[in-house]
């Protein structure tokens, strides 16, 4: 077992012991049922945050770089095979970290040290001299398409090369003023669209592409397709180095887990105090399906995620309010069946045996069948009167924000399993139109387990 797993297990055990109020001297813990223990762990937000931060630090410290099979081409034109560190950030354009086959020594190449570097069936970078912020410098440009007309990328910038001459595809923003009405002018930002003129000039000899050039956007997918078409139009071979990666790929999955939900209801109106409280935490299973949409050719790290979950939440609150001449015993029950649709942007760390990922996004919750009941006993002297009725109106839906982290583990060539921890905050459960004096919020902590396609 690696140090990483051992440390994570140790930290989790420490957290659970702390949650159960374990006394290391008496070797006894306060009694908590398992569900209540889970609730108590989730109440220790600092503990969970600490666990996550420590796990991340451990992973960063102990994890190695994402080395993949590749090569470098030296200044003398020799190709050397080995492992190359894969990066999707700006680092890929500035340096190449290389490990020669059969040799554990790692070397760092700057753009002036080698001609090019690349990955097998994946990205290729070639050293070129470009202007970055008006400074001429050598950099590794990613070769997107190679043929009579070459297309390169440097961060968000694109370059085109024809007959050895490199040109930047420019789309500078220009501030200008336009007349809003007879008296005032408004500031507008216009695109220069210079790149369209550049492409028109470079591709003038392929008439069929002209209408397409007029509408093209300065993005990797559209430009790659255009350059491939141009090179084919010229009857020459065209090579797109990432063509084994799909532009768009979707993955389905199934998941289930536990939802721990807390309802907070607040009011300034004393008549509504019986329903105003932080309700008892609701524990309920959730089950659902997930959809992940990725653009591996643009980024292997970022993807878009969506889920549909079904869950039921039950909240309870009991209060005893003593007034001068009477006492109120209030029992509030809220029962909601929900469909939750979280949408998120996911960042997946470099693939390892256990791969961490983080997510952030928004969610929409549809409240299907719902009921809220206030059972109130009023005790005045030796008379007790029971009243039963609707506690408040529940809305048809809620919106919220959420974030989470988790870990992926490969099951086989087709499927991954995952575990995910989520924290969500939604804007209320109560219909504000019918309950103008009540404010509510729901906090959810979810543990989700599942299987998804690779």
């Amino acid at each position: 077992m690696s140090l990483f797993y051992k440390s994570t297990l140790l930290l989790t055990a420490l957290l659970l012991l702390r949650a159960s109020k374990f006394n290391p001297i008496t070797l006894k813990s306060c009694y908590y049922s398992f569900p209540r223990l889970i609730v108590r762990v989730t109440q220790m937000k600092k503990g969970i945050l600490l666990l996550f931060v420590l796990c991340c630090i451990q992973h960063t410290v102990f994890a190695q770089k994402d080395f993949r099979k590749g090569f470098v081409v030296t200044l003398s034109g020799d190709s050397v095979k080995g492992l190359v560190s894969y990066s999707e950030g700006l680092r890929a354009y500035q340096k190449c970290i290389f490990q020669e086959s059969g040799n554990n020594n790692t070397r760092e190449y700057m753009p002036s040290d080698i001609l090019s570097y690349g990955f097998i069936d994946n990205r290729l970078f070639r050293m070129k001299t470009i202007d970055v912020n008006n400074v001429t410098q050598n950099a590794f440009l990613e070769v997107l398409v190679e043929g009579p007309l070459n297309l390169y990328r440097y961060g968000t910038f694109f370059y085109v090369e024809k007959d050895g001459k490199l040109q930047k595809l420019r789309n500078d923003k220009k501030e200008t003023y336009q007349r809003a009405d007879y008296l005032t002018m408004k500031k507008v930002i216009l695109d220069s669209n210079e790149y369209i003129a550049t492409l028109n000039m470079l591709m003038f000899d392929c008439v069929e592409l002209r209408p397409r050039i007029q509408k093209i956007r300065l993005g990797e997918a559209q430009l790659t397709r255009l350059f491939e078409r141009y090179n084919n139009c010229k009857g020459k071979t065209s090579k797109a180095y990432k063509d084994k990666k799909p532009w768009i790929k979707s993955y389905f999955g199934v998941s289930g887990g536990l939802n721990m939900s807390t309802l907070h209801v607040r009011t300034q109106n004393p008549e509504l105090w019986p329903v105003s409280a932080t309700y008892r935490k609701s524990l309920s299973p959730l089950i659902g399906i997930s959809l992940e949409i990725a653009a591996p050719r643009v980024s292997e790290r970022f993807s878009f995620h969506s889920n549909v979950y079904f869950l039921t939440s039950k909240y309870y609150h009991y209060s005893l309010i003593n007034y001068d001449s009477y006492a109120l015993r209030n029992s509030v029950t809220v029962d909601v069946n929900q469909i939750k649709i979280p949408l998120s942007l996911c960042y997946t760390f470099p693939h390892k045996k256990i791969t961490p990922f983080i997510k952030i996004g928004a969610s929409h919750t549809i409240n299907l069948k719902h009921k809220s009941e206030l059972f109130q006993e009023t005790e005045t002297g030796n008379i007790i009167v029971v009243n039963k009725g609707n506690a408040f109106w529940i809305s048809s839906g809620q919106v919220g924000i959420w974030g989470g982290f988790g870990f992926l583990k490969s099951l086989n060539k087709k499927y991954d399993s995952f575990i995910e921890f989520r924290y969500e905050q939604t804007k209320g459960l109560l219909a504000t139109y019918h309950n103008p004096d009540l404010r509510s919020g729901v906090t959810n902590i979810q543990i989700v387990l599942g299987i998804k396609m690779k």
Partner: protein
């Protein structure tokens, strides 16, 4: 693969099991009456149903229903169906009243119970006469 799926399924089943965390409100230090429903409403009769929760098994020396056109009728102001001592001290009870109800008039009924020291009224339920 099969092993991993069975592990995930077991964990999910465990999650379902631990999430069955039922809750009961604190019990009141007296028996509580709850008026459940009014059924079998005809031109000349109606059946009232109620339930008594009694965790301390306090003796119920009297129980029944009070009804009328006012939702807050008491045993002294409303029409009373007196069913006497409730032997089991908890559970369901009902009563059928034979009376001509005015058409479209709203009536209210609520259960009541008496212990040696307290009178407890259940929640009020409304119904409408159909003749």
């Amino acid at each position: 693969m099969c092993k991993s799926i069975s592990i995930i399924s077991t964990i999910l089943l465990l999650i379902v099991f631990i999430s069955c965390d039922s809750y009961e409100f604190p019990h009141a230090p007296y028996p509580v009456a709850e008026t459940n429903s009014v059924s079998d409403i005809t031109a000349s009769n109606a059946t009232f149903k109620a339930h008594i929760s009694n965790y301390d098994n306090t003796s119920i020396i009297d129980h029944g229903f009070v009804w009328g056109k006012n939702p807050e009728h008491s045993v002294s102001s409303g029409k009373v169906i007196d069913l006497g001592i409730f032997q089991t001290n908890k559970g369901n009870f009902n009563a059928t009243i034979e009376k001509t109800f005015s058409k479209d008039t709203t009536y209210y009924v609520r259960s009541y119970i008496k212990t040696t020291s307290l009178t407890i009224y259940g929640n009020s339920i409304l119904f409408k006469g159909i003749e």
